[in-house]
């Protein structure tokens, strides 16, 4: 079965060439991925991330490059019993409250 990520050869229409600045959270996301995948921790490989975001649904996949990587990282760490969704949600709520978001 051809996955929603396997788009080589499909009609894409006009492709915009935009140079977007790296946002701080995107740098954090990559830093975390690098640390979680290093030789000492070896918890998250890029191949595992791809397996997760190629199967967790097209909507999440199309949310954006860093968005899907972060979502996949969280799902993988839950899958590996590093923490639960409860922990992530509680922590997110605390951060949102502290920073006045939401």
């Amino acid at each position: 079965m051809k996955g929603y990520h396997d788009i080589g050869g499909e009609s894409a229409g006009h492709v915009e060439h935009l140079e977007l600045p790296w946002l701080h959270w995107q740098k954090l996301a990559e830093a975390m991925r690098n640390l979680l995948g290093d030789a000492r921790r070896n918890l998250v490989s890029v191949d595992e991330l791809r397996r997760v975001f190629e199967t967790f649904g097209e909507e999440k996949y199309n949310a954006g490059f860093y968005e899907r990587r972060v979502e996949a990282m969280a799902a993988l760490l839950v899958e590996k019993n590093v923490f639960s969704w409860d922990v992530i949600e509680t922590r997110m709520a605390a951060i949102a409250k502290r920073s006045g978001v939401r």
Binding site: M1, G8, G9, N42, S45, E48, R51, E54
Partner: protein, 98 residues
């Protein structure tokens, strides 16, 4: 030991594997030529399942003619596309046509 030599004609299998694979559909069921041997690397399909002892698997760069891949290709007939493919996705071309 790599099974295919540079210049060999190879056919890309259309394996129906679950999980993450590195072979896009647009080269499957197409015939190309081994352009180079890239070395052996831990099988990304096994790594994608979290296998830290993934088997080292031979990787090749395979060259295709663009006009073979895309029916409506409007470029030059000698234009090519190269992509890396792991050995278990490849078979000798004559196996397919025999």
């Amino acid at each position: 030991m790599p099974r295919f030599l540079v210049g060999a004609r190879v056919y890309v299998r259309n394996l129906d594997l679950a999980g993450h694979v590195r072979t896009p559909h647009y080269v499957r069921n197409h015939t190309g030529v081994i352009e180079r041997y890239c070395g052996a690397f831990p099988n990304p399909e096994q790594r994608a399942r979290g296998d830290k002892n993934a088997r080292r698997t031979e990787l090749y760069r395979v060259q295709f003619r663009q006009c073979d891949l895309w029916p409506a290709y409007a470029g030059e007939p000698e234009d090519t596309l190269e992509i890396e493919v792991y050995e278990h996705w490849l078979m000798e071309h004559h196996e397919e046509t025999a």
